[in-house]
């Protein structure tokens, strides 16, 4: 073999050896810095954790974890030595999944029985019907989704769409309502009851009706009015929105940003400006509906990779570049990877360094949707990019919404000046919809300034820290009780698995009886077998409120057997969890 060939062989060999030991070469650095980094990478590689492996790990860890005091947050060390928690997705046994399917079968059977009874007039029907003169028209709703809605959803409707009568802060006033006809119509009692609110996306506690944010947003009404009555391109410019865009760009550490008045529309209307039918979009399995709609409207080919699985993503990228577009037999013009920072239904944090590494290696572009993570993650609230210590300039497009952590409405896209200039000119929201209302822009401006510390206090920093403590404390306590909780311990979104759709209604009502308002989700927002209670921890919640919620969860869990699902309860048995 020639010298050159031998050299290449050795290079190849060394590269492979290194790759085996460190998974992704450039990411080896974060493994050295933290203990538990290996565990984290493995979990990010294999989100569905092997049961046998977990049991083996559990036995080994038992000895280490017994009688260990866990401080959820250490202020003396600050953030530097904080471990990043891995994503966990514990799965139930197959026979239990079968019982969940059985529940669904029974529900659907009963649904059809009731449809039959209703059609034959045996049961009184409360369904709204067509006008008599329109009975000849093709019925609007006659498919399975309608049957499900009429018979299954309506029975638990009192758990959803609960009207509130106050600001949705740590506690909220719910309007009391009752139903005479099994959920079809609701009548208000006229009273309101205060409950602890763990359902609203109020991560940093900025949903307040007093304080500097409310004052400035009310004050701007005098100067700039409530709305501009025209589109953004035609005279829709307002000083408040321009100031906000500059602040957002500074906050995130990028060149420029553009703000929109609706978060959903930011995703769905701007994806078509970035990609067209000659491009490819690679999106995560659990992406939000707005991203999916944007992908569809853009006309680009779409491929889906397994949730947070870097191997699946790499395989897709390689195949896409090598084989090209199967319809035109030509290479794709560009590839856009769309991921989210925190996934709202899973509570998991995406593996950003891994994705950035792949993106750089293969020349793709990255679109990061930080709807839930902006303000909530990172040591100063700057989102997932800061949490992972990545460079914001590596992410081509940073997108986020203001609904969650800033207590307002709207969305933004931030990136390099070239990208933002193009979006300003080409986005249809500029031509056809209005700008942000000045009070909303002011609310975001003030809350963002507070987070950045520009108001002179350290209120923002305290909020971020409180949220981090709350999330960790809450999650560890839940796992100690025996619940299966998805996702990473650092994320404030806490999906607690209850699996059975029938338990959803039970949970919602029982928690309300105990003075806590929760959100339950089932099919079709989640998988059929994985109904969940999604709790959103907030910086506004005090430890006492969290303890109340936890006690209620313990009681309801015992009654519904949901807190006995986890098989790793023993890992947390002797842990004394401090806030």
């Amino acid at each position: 073999m020639s010298k050159k060939a031998r050299a290449i062989c050795i290079d190849d060999f060394m590269a492979r050896q290194l790759a085996e030991r460190t998974d992704i070469l450039e990411c080896a650095w974060h493994k050295r810095q933290e203990e538990g980094g290996e565990e984290e990478d493995e979990d990010h590689q294999k989100p569905i954790v092997d049961q046998a492996q977990l049991d083996a790990e559990a036995d080994a860890e038992d000895a280490r974890m017994r009688a260990r005091r866990v401080k959820t947050f250490s202020t003396s060390d600050g953030w530097a030595t904080r471990e990043r928690a891995p994503n966990e997705f514990e799965h139930i046994s197959r026979w239990r999944a079968l019982t969940v399917y059985l529940t669904w079968v029974v529900l659907i059977m009963f649904a059809y029985v009731r449809e039959f009874l209703r059609n034959w007039g045996i049961e009184t029907s409360h369904i709204k019907v067509e006008l008599d003169k329109q009975k000849q028209f093709t019925p609007l709703f006659d498919d399975f989704a309608a049957v499900y809605q009429r018979n299954c959803y309506v029975r638990v409707r009192d758990v959803f769409e609960r009207p509130i009568g106050s600001v949705p802060g740590a506690t909220v006033n719910l309007l009391d309502r009752y139903t005479d006809d099994g959920g079809w119509t609701f009548k208000m009692k006229g009273t309101q009851s205060s409950v602890i609110n763990v359902g609203s996306y109020n991560y940093l506690g900025f949903a307040q009706n007093e304080g500097p944010c409310a004052d400035t947003s009310a004050a701007i009404i005098n100067q700039e009015g409530l709305a501009n009555c025209s589109t953004v391109h035609e005279n829709g410019r307002s000083h408040s929105q321009a100031r906000l865009e500059t602040l957002v760009a500074e906050f995130l550490g990028v060149e420029d940003s553009i703000c929109f008045s609706m978060g959903f529309a930011t995703n769905s209307m701007n994806a078509p400006c970035l990609v067209d039918k000659h491009s490819l979009i690679i999106s995560d399995q659990y992406n939000h509906a707005s991203l999916i709609l944007g992908c569809r409207l853009s006309g680009a080919s779409t491929k889906v990779f397994k949730h947070n699985d870097m191997k699946s993503l790499e395989k897709l990228l390689r195949d896409a570049i090598a084989y090209g577009n199967p319809k035109t037999y030509r290479p794709y013009r560009k590839i856009l990877i769309i991921v989210e920072g925190i996934y709202s239904m899973e509570g998991s944090i995406s593996n950003l360094p891994g994705i950035i590494e792949l993106k750089k290696k293969y020349g793709a572009y990255l679109y990061l949707d930080e709807a839930h993570s902006i303000g909530a993650m990172g040591r100063s609230g700057r989102g997932c990019v800061e949490y992972w210590d990545c460079d914001p300039k590596d992410v081509d497009i940073l997108m986020g919404t203001f609904t969650k952590s800033f207590g307002a409405a709207g969305g933004y896209i931030a990136g390099s000046k070239r990208v933002i200039d193009h979006l300003r000119v080409a986005s249809p929201t500029g031509y056809y919809s209005g700008p942000m209302a000045p009070p909303i822009a002011e609310q975001i401006f003030t809350s963002m300034s507070i987070i950045m510390g520009r108001d002179g206090t350290n209120d923002g920093q305290k909020r971020v820290e409180r949220l981090a403590r709350n999330s960790r404390y809450f999650r560890l306590r839940l796992k100690q009780m025996g619940y299966i909780v998805y996702g990473s311990d650092d994320s404030p979104v806490v999906p607690v698995l209850i699996y059975y759709p029938t338990v959803c209604g039970f949970y919602g009502r029982q928690m309300l009886a105990r003075g806590i308002g929760v959100v339950v989700v089932s099919f079709p927002a989640t998988d059929m077998t994985e109904a969940r209670v999604r709790i959103c921890v907030s910086a506004a919640h005090t430890k006492e409120q969290l303890d109340t919620v936890l006690d209620a969860m313990r009681e309801v869990g015992k009654e519904s057997w949901c807190s006995s699902f986890s098989r790793h309860k023993h890992l947390y048995e002797n842990l004394a969890i401090e806030w």
């Binding site: 028209f137 769409e161 609203s200 391109h233 307002s238 609706m262």
Partner: protein, 311 residues
């Protein structure tokens, strides 16, 4: 027990046995024959893929935008845009914004808005389903429904999204929508998202629409079973945003009853503008609800008192 089972076999008729055997045979056959991979493309080795990947040069994400584009050099209005607009210290008569009823700057509305901020905060921190429904939303929906003489109303926070999500909610794949060529962008996006078949008719041309409806009727006659499942819709605007013309609603109502087509009317510009009492001049003729979540397809551009204000 095995004896009784074998006995049962003996008692069963030959036809029964033959049928069962065929069924079991079919199941076994289907289970063991795997579907062949229809992937006819040539399989590349990893090395070949590496070479192709090294050769591939992606296009830049976005093209360059000329820096002198008017959108990148905007002019900001000072203060509110009421009847007059102030730019660079000089006042101009405002004929550019859709402030039809002159509510911008109205003191009563602004006072209520401020009171609302101090009671409910600015955002609702969640969608309607999860503690985002505020009692004022419900009150407004009731008032809208009463104003229009309809059974119910649904509120949306973004004008663009109203019609763009209303159309796909009712018109699915396989349905037919007759749309005017002059409809606005939001409706076009809604039609695209719905994946229904769209038949465009010339702007405000009722003869063209009738021609299309008649063609559809003939197609239905050939296949009445399929026609019974297909839903038909018509999408028009009360006052067209692009051309400023008013749609001939009486003629459209005639077509509705004759050809059994449901109508969507987008009254964003005609609400508050047309008719003696501002109800768009005519009752909305969208078919009433079979569900409580029934909507009026009017996005409230003309009322500026804060429809985009409480999320």
């Amino acid at each position: 027990m095995i004896g009784t089972l074998l006995g049962l076999f003996g008692e069963a008729s030959t036809l029964h046995l033959a049928l069962e055997t065929t069924l079991i045979g079919a199941v076994v056959y289907l289970y063991f024959t795997r579907k062949e991979n229809k992937d006819t493309r040539v399989k590349l080795t990893e090395k070949q893929k590496d070479e192709l990947i090294a050769e591939w040069v992606p296009e830049p994400l976005v093209p360059e935008t000329p820096q002198d584009h008017p959108v990148l050099n905007p002019r900001y209005v000072e203060g509110k845009m009421t009847k007059y607009a102030k730019y660079d210290g000089k006042e101009y008569l405002n004929m550019a914004t859709s402030n039809f009823l002159g509510f911008v700057g109205e003191k009563r509305i602004e006072d209520v808005a401020k009171k609302t901020i101090f009671k409910y905060g600015v955002g609702s921190c969640g969608p309607r389903g999860f503690y985002g429904t505020v009692d004022v939303h419900l009150d407004l929906e009731k008032e809208l429904a009463d104003f229009f003489g309809c059974e119910e109303a649904v509120l949306y926070s973004y004008g663009f999204a109203t019609i763009a999500s209303a159309i796909p909610a009712y018109a699915k794949r396989g349905d037919i929508v007759f749309a005017d060529k002059g409809v606005n962008f939001a409706i076009q996006k809604g039609l695209q998202a719905s994946r229904a078949r769209v038949e465009w008719f010339e702007h405000n041309d009722m003869d063209d629409l009738e021609r299309l409806l008649k063609l559809q009727e003939e197609r239905d006659k050939k296949d009445p079973k399929k026609a019974a499942k297909v839903r038909r819709f018509m999408v028009v605007e009360g006052l067209y945003a692009n051309t400023g013309s008013i749609c001939p609603l009486p003629k459209l109502m005639e077509f509705k009853w004759k050809y059994k087509v449901r109508i969507f009317i987008d009254e964003s510009f005609s609400f508050g503008v047309l008719g003696k009492t501002g109800r768009g001049g005519f009752a909305l003729s969208f078919s009433p609800a079979t569900y409580p979540c029934f909507e009026i397809t009017a996005n409230l551009l003309t009322i500026k008192s804060g429809t985009r204000f409480t999320n």
